[in-house]
Symmetry: C2
Subunit: 201 residues, 2 copies
């Protein structure tokens, strides 16, 4: 597995840490690679925002410091404003499209993908699973991990009584991502503009 | 707050990650400092062991990489064997004394403190709170954080119905640490040998 640095950010209560843990577990426990997950506590945590860094690698990770993530997943406007400038040039930006409005600042993201994760979660009757919808979408778009490893990691990370709900949330996000890639295969790859099934692409 | 690097390690199910989270939150949310918590997933996680790194600092932390922890808290023999060689010379080693037997390898720990955390947790009827007993003992011994910040972080990190139990576990560990320091004030500081209320000191 190629070294991949990921940052996931949003506000408290969106389940940012669980999403990061699922990705880390999928890579390591279910796919034989290595992963670290770093959570920072500081003034921003007091302000109600939450972020986590995940590093995936085929080799043991000595320095779990994310400088410029390859993939940035943001679920709030504040998280977008704060972390988008750090994205690696040519990296992948994934946004919760109903919660994040892209500003006009040019940035290095070659590819920007949007998903209405909160709405998809609400279709399952539980807004709280938007984080796992995001994980599914992330998985389909980035192709860094196998769907089955991610499913196993989801099941391993939530209480038994919530497994079915969370696995459905995962599939929703994954399917949305697959459909979006399908659409792009016909319309061409994104280049600095948001693409979504409802948007400009 | 002085930069302090801490590693907490044990086996899966002992609540290593929660212990690390409580310490990080106490420093940041309740004491105005900064903290990072890094969890590694890898082959050792598949083997059922668990470890987390916590860094506390008065300033934002740019590199959350623990090379040689100032404080090592171990709750299993395997964790001791693996991580004790990494302890900073002159650092503090804290062990669950019923689960860890010190070997004869000389190492740089100037001070080694033992606590029967599992037994103290069992006195509360719930072995599962040994991690919070360890946090209390850690707090009293190291004096890096204020008792009240740690109490608030414990309360903030467990479900409401488990707050009372966990706060009692915290006090048990804290009191045990205070008594141990009291005994040492009479008998002299430890120097490379285990000290405990039941042991050699």
């Amino acid at each position: 597995m190629q070294l991949t640095e990921i940052r996931i950010a949003g506000f408290g209560g969106q389940g940012v840490i669980l999403a990061a843990t699922v990705i880390g577990k999928a890579a390591s426990i279910f796919q034989g690679a290595y992963a670290t997950m770093t959570q920072s506590f500081g003034p921003e945590a007091r302000g109600g925002s939450s972020s986590a860094q995940v590093i995936l690698s085929g080799d043991p990770i000595l320095y779990p410091y994310v400088a410029q993530p390859d993939v940035l997943v943001v679920m709030s406007q504040e998280a977008y404003t704060r972390f988008a400038p750090q994205l690696k040039p040519g990296g992948t930006l994934i946004i919760e499209q109903d919660l994040v409005r892209l500003d006009n600042t040019p940035h290095g993201a070659a590819r920007i993908y949007g998903v209405p994760a909160t709405r998809l979660a609400e279709e399952l009757g539980r807004k709280m699973v938007l984080n796992v919808v995001m994980v599914g979408f992330f998985g389909a778009i980035t192709k860094v991990l196998e769907a089955e490893s991610l499913r196993q990691a989801v099941a391993d990370s939530v209480p038994p009584s919530f497994q079915k709900l969370n696995l459905s949330a995962f599939e929703k996000g994954w399917d949305y991502g697959v459909k979006l890639l399908d659409k792009l295969a016909h319309n061409g790859e994104p280049n600095g503009h948001l693409v979504s099934l409802e948007g400009e692409a």
